[in-house]
């Protein structure tokens, strides 16, 4: 075992009733390192707030719980890695373990990003519990979740129609298609229930926009009056300003 990754124990190895001394098991150490890499990823997601780029507020608990569990599992595996008869780890198995760390490297190496306008046409529109928070036609400021939910039920449409002309204040990304007029864009915000894989869209058509000022994927804040027209909702903008990406880029229903 001239260059095996198995490391023979030194004076710390304890004998057990005359049995052979414990030495590091390469397999368990490697497994522990894979778990450690994943634990590190979860801690970093938690500490940097990047968990909001992948999960909704409903499921963000997965990250601290995952970080704690992965850490405990990694520690347990490494602490238990000194065995009496370690076997060498196969080369193929070692590479597979290395591949399991690739997503960790990928997430950590890439700059933080959110779904952009490319995905807007691939995702279904949001539809949920109807017109949340305003069952009788309403009060309180309208949100994009309210608007999107109302677009998919007759009662929601009617409720939203009663609020035509009200002032709204929405933040989202600029989405344009080939046939979008220069003075308009679609304001898109993704609604995530569990993780980004289940993202649905909330969209309103924004009119009265300065042509050429905003590009696809720009984050903007739109203020104006809302005019629901059946399943389409139009916002006549009185103000459109570029903003930085919100700390929580995805909405939760």
């Amino acid at each position: 075992m001239k260059d095996s990754v198995a490391v023979r124990g030194t004076g710390h190895a304890r004998s057990h009733g005359g049995a052979s001394p414990r030495t590091w098991s390469p397999g368990r150490v490697a497994g522990g390192l894979v778990l450690t890499a994943w634990a590190a990823l979860f801690w970093l997601l938690l500490l940097t707030g990047r968990d909001d780029l992948y999960l909704s507020t409903r499921t963000s608990w997965v990250v601290p719980v995952g970080a704690a569990l992965l850490t405990a599992a990694a520690a347990g595996l490494i602490v238990s890695a000194r065995v009496r008869s370690p076997r060498p780890i196969g080369s193929r198995e070692a590479w597979v373990m290395g591949l399991m760390v690739v997503p960790v490297v990928m997430i950590l190496a890439l700059p933080p990003a959110t779904l952009g306008s490319f995905s807007a046409s691939k995702r279904p529109g949001f539809s949920s519990a109807g017109f949340s928070g305003t069952p009788d036609g309403g009060s309180g400021p309208l949100t994009l979740v309210d608007v999107a939910g109302a677009q998919y039920s007759k009662a929601g449409e009617q409720t939203l129609a009663r609020r035509a002309g009200e002032q709204v204040d929405f933040i989202g990304i600029v989405t344009r298609f080939a046939d979008t007029p220069a003075g308009e864009f679609l304001l898109t915000r993704y609604i995530v229930t569990c993780c980004v894989a289940d993202a649905t869209t909330a969209q309103v058509r924004v009119v009265n926009v300065p042509p050429g000022k905003f590009q696809a994927n720009d984050w903007v804040e739109v203020k104006g009056q809302i005019y629901p027209l059946g399943k389409q909702v139009i916002v006549n903008a009185t103000s459109v300003e570029a903003v930085t990406r919100p700390a929580r880029p995805y909405l939760t229903p």
Partner: protein, 336 residues
């Protein structure tokens, strides 16, 4: 990661192998940083969806591995053998209802089911549990309720999902019949060899616990990554609107929604919100999406392929789709 003799002599990893792996990982990090593939829209969408799937699912795989290891180390063999001794008409409903008490998504239930079967529970009951748990657990039922609470189809969806999910899981168990674990489970190197690494004295329980946990996590984790990558690729390019063309075509719409659930690979705790967004489809098609999705999807397909023998997956796909289709058609007749 196993401490058992490999079935065939294979090249062992050396310090050089470890160094090479670390170098490749470092190179990958550097290239990702320099090339910034996220500048290309579809690559960015793929990476985000893939990242979100693994970030969400990996802790559940670990939870499943922990539960699986606990079953292996702490549950006496005769406890499961007693369950296996129940008459089969009782075994399958009991296994399905056990899923109610297991609030974990589909990725976590696979290693648990595998361990249950390996430890003496009949494979039919273990698979019934595996399929039922992600559909019947209270978190999933609650999320279905929330997603449909403003719809007239609320109770059709909530009760239908519970009842049809349980039925489909039991039918799969019934089709498996009395097959033994050797006929159902794919052999794994850490379980295929009777000779333990450390024959005497036996390892302490906590050491065995972590060994089994690590083996299960690494085994399931790699398949999860493959499945998540496939699901993310499909999600990146498949426009959800394309399925709208068949909405309203009886039977075909049910089949299309089951196909969509398969490729989207959503978590069972969130899929009701996506199903509810397909308002062009009737309750029967949406119900089929909610029942078949947590049992058959791309990421699960990879997990199943690593866990079960070759014939299992086709049998599972045919049985789940056929039973769900028939069940959903009944719902269409009864609920309109």
């Amino acid at each position: 990661m196993v401490d058992v003799a490999p079935s065939q002599p294979a090249r062992n990893a050396t310090v050089r192998t470890a160094a090479l792996i670390l170098a490749v990982l470092a190179l990958a990090a550097g290239l990702l940083r320099i090339l910034e593939p996220g500048r290309i829209a579809w690559i960015q969408a793929f990476l985000i969806v893939f990242g979100s799937l693994v970030v969400q699912a990996m802790p559940f795989v670990l939870l499943g591995a922990l539960a699986s290891a606990a079953i292996e180390v702490f549950v006496p063999v005769n406890a499961l053998e007693r369950l296996a001794g129940l008459p089969r008409p009782l075994q399958l409903p009991a296994a399905a209802l056990a899923g109610v008490a297991f609030p974990i998504c589909e990725c976590g239930s696979v290693p648990v089911a595998r361990r249950l079967a390996a430890r003496g529970l009949t494979p039919s009951a273990a698979v019934t549990f595996m399929l039922a748990a992600p559909v019947l657990n209270p978190v999933v039922i609650a999320s279905t309720f929330v997603a449909y609470r403003a719809r007239s189809s609320l109770w059709t969806m909530v009760i239908g999902r519970f009842a049809l999910g349980m039925l489909v899981a039991m039918v799969v168990g019934w089709v498996l019949g009395s097959r033994s674990k050797d006929e159902v489970l794919r052999p794994r190197s850490d379980e295929a060899h009777a000779v333990p690494v450390e024959p005497a004295p036996p390892e302490a329980r906590w050491r065995r616990f972590f060994l089994h946990m690590g083996n299960d996590f690494l085994f399931m984790g790699r398949y999860l990554l493959v499945g998540a990558a496939a699901a993310a690729m499909v999600q990146t390019f498949l426009p959800a609107s394309f399925v709208s063309k068949v909405a309203g075509t009886p039977v075909l719409d049910i089949g299309v929604m089951m196909g969509l659930a398969t490729v989207l690979s959503l978590c069972s705790e969130s899929d009701a919100f996506v199903a509810a967004s397909f308002v062009q489809f009737g309750p029967a098609a949406q119900l089929a999406f909610l029942v078949s999705g947590p049992m058959i999807d791309l990421k699960l397909g990879a997990l199943y392929a690593g866990t079960f023998r070759r014939g299992f997956l086709p049998m599972l796909v045919v049985t789940v789709f056929a039973t769900t289709l028939v069940g959903a058609m009944w719902v269409m007749v009864v609920a309109g």
